[in-house]
């Protein structure tokens, strides 16, 4: 019996080429998309799953009030002293702790040096605490010697080629000699921590910052006893913070809490500046939804075409019933056919996946290489086949098997209004999804263009950002600045703690306006050239200047929002004092107010901002005169290299750097565009099949109409109208849904575009044009046919 079904299904597949082609293409593309998305999501959800102690590992976080008010913000950076204190105070709850300090060092071996940016300085139990396997070396002892270092396999290869790395000595910042004691496997792509080298933190144990609060600079992970309730432990932390930091907080007029977050949650935390890998739940959600939608669209194609062809198969159904087939047997047969299509498609999908994998890896930015051997992939695929078989097969099966044998044998069968209504409903659904996706993309593209092209309130053109991220250049930063200023093509140079879009410390201030209160303000520590270099507009008072000898210790600039927060107009603010309680011992007078500018992304509203001269310089911002860009950069490189010869010169353009903040949105935009195009393609494929079918079915009608004098245009219109109506209806349904979702998405931006009617109109127009083209081709073909021929076919 089953064999008979399969033979028949295969021969049908061969006979009805267009039908089979559309279904197989649709289902294959749909299944491939689902597989790709599955692989991505499986990877996202597998983060940090490989750690043996993952259930009991937590990261210790400081909690502060959020700047924008409401809610609280967690900060991953802690001082080294927390770990010691926690282990000391909670021996019952905390089994072990490990500190991880991301660092950036110059490593040299035999005169070949690299500025290594992925170095972790850690406690010596790092490789026991986490499950990063060692290829060589003993996890328990590999970091015991303060002058040891562990390299990953790839890094070892980079330095030593095929030589045995164990026992080799590398040069650390031209200061220390570290001996390679172990080789770690390369860090898997699904780890939030990622490193090329690991060295012991213990070398620094006599430094003052090592044992004193606050000095927040590293991550602290703790492993709790299996029976410890993390909530109970957290409830004891306020007391802990008061014990160690109470005095400091009272002096500075603010305070922070302490909490622990489970290891498995770290990857999906929405933290920007903690220098570990983060994903986004909303991206996972978007991907999943798209996968489901694409699969539904492909299944709808199958259902639509199968039911449209129902009349063709009615004879077979009738006959089988006459020969004694039960309805149940027919249902099994038709569902079986759907399964066959699903299986063929899933096999093709595996092949297609293989072809697309390199491009997909490229898009994702990491390698999903092990998918071929991942049993989950096959289980998932089997699940998809099952879903397609049941979803796509059940309706046609129920419909076809319900035919009365007498009528279907005589060809009197009318797959009544119900059938065609059902098909139209499905087309409505398909196209509402397509239009929804088009609307989403239109708005995302519009918003991303807006934020990336918006006037940020500072001049972002021709500006280079050079990080002062090593001690050599750090020590010579003023010389670096002077030499740059001497270059005729360099317009301005300013050294600062954070460029626009970068990191800005939030400090506590005392103010003349609110003498009894301490307020938190974003800060910039810089020189006198900051406002000039960025092209900020002074709206009251004057810029900081070396002509005023008091400016270094007593002068400060604020932005318009700060003035407003303090209750002043910009003019009133000039001359008033504020005091940074964490950096300055003296009050500073406000010498000027700058117009607001976006020092952080357009997702956040502009915050109060205080610009004060200070020695804390982490970045050089260099404004170049337009013109000889490349030769100027080359000269800057020469200056840098002459000052810090061991370090490679690296720079970013300020505008590009600033737009890096929208990286995940841009990626979402790319992915959404690709998959939406696929969804629309599959939907059109179905529409194409449906319209070619309608055209065939109505051949006789068209013939009669033409004999009676109907024009080709009339017939094209007649044939197109029927299928265009559901497309239009689908588009109308998509509008409010699109409005709702995109409005929600836009809420993530403090500065956003407004909806325009044309965004919706355009989406609908695109869908209608695509549908018109698909349907039109068939309609024109039918209308152009010779009526004598078409009448003869009956």
């Amino acid at each position: 019996m089953i064999k008979n079904y399969f033979i028949l299904a295969f021969r049908k597949l061969k006979h009805q080429k267009i039908f089979s082609f559309i279904n197989i293409i649709g289902l294959t593309v749909g299944t491939t998309c689902c597989l790709m998305i599955f692989l991505f999501i499986a990877h996202e959800l597998s983060y940090d799953n490989f750690h043996k102690n993952k259930e009991n590992i937590y990261r210790v976080m400081r909690v502060g009030g959020h700047l924008n008010g409401g809610g609280s913000e967690e900060i991953a950076y802690l001082s080294p002293a927390y770990s010691t204190a926690l282990l000391n105070d909670y021996p019952d709850a905390i089994q072990q702790a490990v500190r991880v300090m991301p660092d950036n060092d110059l490593i040299t071996y035999k005169n070949v040096g690299f500025n290594e940016k992925k170095i972790y300085l850690v406690d010596d139990n790092f490789f026991e605490f986490f499950s990063f396997p060692l290829v060589k070396g003993n996890p328990a002892t590999v970091l015991k010697d303060p002058l040891s270092i562990v390299l990953t396999e790839s890094t070892a290869k980079k330095y030593f080629g095929n030589e045995d790395p164990i026992g080799k000595v590398v040069d650390w910042n031209k200061k220390l000699k570290l001996k390679v004691t172990g080789i770690a496997k390369d860090v898997p792509s699904n780890s939030h921590l990622y490193f090329d080298m690991v060295a012991p933190l213990s070398y620094y144990k006599n430094e003052p910052w090592y044992s004193q609060f606050p000095n927040n600079m590293l991550f602290t992970y703790v492993q709790l006893n299996p029976h410890t309730d993390p909530k109970k432990l957290i409830s004891r932390f306020p007391q802990f913070m008061d014990k160690y930091l109470g005095k400091y907080y009272r002096e500075n007029g603010f305070s922070m809490g302490l909490t622990i977050d489970p290891l498995k949650d770290i990857y999906f935390q929405n933290l920007v500046f903690d220098n570990v890998k983060h994903g986004s739940k909303s991206v996972v959600f978007t991907f999943t939804s798209i996968a489901v939608l694409i699969l539904i669209i492909a299944c709808i194609n199958f259902m639509n075409l199968a039911t449209a062809r129902a009349t063709d198969r009615s004879k077979e159904v009738g006959l089988r019933k006459v020969l004694g087939a039960l309805r149940k047997q027919l249902i099994i047969q038709f569902i079986g056919e759907a399964f066959l299509f699903a299986m063929v498609s899933s096999i093709l999908a595996l092949g297609l996946l293989q072809l697309l994998m390199p491009a997909y890896n490229n898009l994702l930015g990491y390698n999903l290489s092990s998918y071929w051997t991942n049993p989950l992939v096959y289980i998932f695929l089997a699940g998809i086949v099952l879903i397609i078989g049941l979803l796509a097969g059940s309706y046609p099966a129920l419909l076809l098997s319900s035919f009365s044998p007498i009528e279907s044998l005589k060809g009197k069968l009318k797959v009544g209004k119900n059938g065609s209504l059902f098909r139209k409903t499905l087309v409505v659904f398909q196209f509402s999804i397509s239009v929804l996706l088009i609307i989403s993309i239109t708005i995302i593209v519009k918003q991303m263009n807006y934020v990336q092209g918006a006037d940020l309130g500072f001049n972002k053109e021709h500006a280079l950002v050079v990080k002062l991220d090593n001690n050599t250049i750090g020590e010579k930063k003023l010389l670096f600045k002077t030499q740059l200023q001497n270059d005729p093509d360099v317009q301005n140079v300013s050294l600062m703690s954070g460029e626009p879009g970068g990191f800005h410390d939030v400090h506590s201030f005392e103010t003349e306006a609110m003498p009894n209160e301490k307020i938190m303000l974003s800060t910039e520590f810089t020189d006198f050239e900051f406002a000039k270099t960025l092209g900020l507009k002074i709206i009251a008072g004057r810029d900081l200047s070396s002509q005023y000898s008091t400016d270094t210790l007593h002068g400060v600039l604020i932005n318009r929002t700060t003035a407003a927060k303090l209750g002043y107009t910009p003019q009133q603010a000039v001359g008033k004092w504020i005091k940074n309680t964490m950096r300055d011992s003296l009050r500073r007078n406000i010498v000027g107010v700058v117009e607001d500018f976006h020092f952080s992304s357009l997702k956040d509203p502009i915050q109060p901002f205080v610009i004060a001269p200070n020695d804390d310089r982490r970045v050089a911002l260099i404004r170049i005169k337009p013109g000889n860009l490349q030769s100027t950069i080359n000269r800057i490189k020469n200056i840098y290299t002459s000052l810090a010869p061991a370090y490679p010169f690296e720079y970013d353009f300020l505008d590009e750097q600033f737009n890096q903040q929208y990286k995940s949105e841009v990626r979402q935009q790319t992915v959404l565009s690709i998959f939406s195009a696929i969804a629309i393609f599959i939907a059109s494929l179905g529409l194409f099949g449906l319209s070619s079918y309608t055209a065939i079915k109505r051949t006789k009608e068209v013939g009669v109409r033409k004999v009676l004098g109907s024009s080709v245009e009339n017939i094209v219109l007649l044939l197109s109208k029927d299928l265009l109506k559901p497309v239009l209806l689908g588009a109308l349904i998509a509008m409010p849904v699109g409005y709702y979702f995109m409005n929600k998405w836009l809420q993530g931006f403090a500065y956003r575009i407004v909806f325009h009617w044309w965004m919706f109109a355009m989406a609908i127009a695109i869908a209608v044009i695509i549908a018109l083209l698909t349907v039109g081709v068939q309609a024109v073909k039918a209308a152009m046919a010779n009526p004598v021929k078409s009448l003869r076919t009956e």
Partner: protein, 225 residues
């Protein structure tokens, strides 16, 4: 074998009510060959559908092998049908995607016959209708007469007690038509009961008895043998 009493069947649409069978009473004995004749719309197809358990009557009694089957449900009808009744249609109704062999095999599949036994029985019956040499062809590759012979083979492969033929020669030329009629006669001689609806007096003469119908009732019966 068949005894129907006061059988009624009415078709209703929104506007018209058509009485297809009007208190029809008739009997067919085991081994008989009966031809049913009458003008279009007299109810002969309806009668054949009810006899074939494809349709159920509104009123009256239908005894099949001494069992009242008038109100059997679908499952029971299908079961009775596949074991006892073979059909031959005017338009052959072969499945285009199946070969001759597979078409004939189909009823055996539904009655659950094992594969080896199926092969034997299909070959036997293909031999009987002299179409064995075409067993691996598809229906479109055959002439009309050959197609109808395949259809007859399919109707008898299950050794049914009753064959219902609905204008079996309607789509055939006279030569092929005669061949099919002779095949039916031969089957009848071997003991199969046959009820045949036909417009052709020529074909009707192959039968034992002609029942003439008008407006859902039998009007005359001519016994030929």
């Amino acid at each position: 074998m068949i005894k129907i009493t006061e059988l009624e069947k009415v078709y209703r649409t929104e506007e018209v009510e058509t009485i297809a069978l009007n208190k029809l009473t008739m009997e067919v004995k085991d081994g008989e060959f009966v031809a049913v004749m009458g003008p279009s719309g007299c109810g002969k197809s309806t009668l054949l559908n009810i006899l074939g358990l494809l349709d159920d009557p509104d009123n009256g009694s239908f005894m099949f092998n001494n069992i009242e089957v008038a109100h059997f449900n679908e499952r029971k009808r299908a079961d009775l049908r596949k074991h006892n009744i073979g059909f031959v249609f005017q338009s052959f109704n072969l499945i285009d995607e199946l070969t001759v062999f597979e078409n004939v095999e189909l009823p055996l599949i539904y009655t659950g016959v094992k594969a080896a036994e199926r092969k034997k029985r299909v070959e036997e019956v293909l031999d009987k209708v002299q179409i064995m040499h075409r067993r691996n062809h598809y229906p479109q590759q055959l002439s009309g007469g050959q197609q109808q012979r395949v259809a007859v083979a399919r109707a008898v492969v299950n050794h049914p007690k009753l064959i219902l033929a609905d204008e079996p020669t309607g789509n055939l030329d006279s030569h092929n038509g005669n061949e099919v009629m002779e095949l039916l006669t031969e089957l009848n001689e071997q003991g199969t009961t046959i009820v045949m609806v036909t417009h052709s007096e020529h074909d009707a003469r192959y039968s034992h008895r002609i029942i003439r119908m008008l407006d859902g009732q039998t009007v005359t019966e001519n016994v030929l043998v």
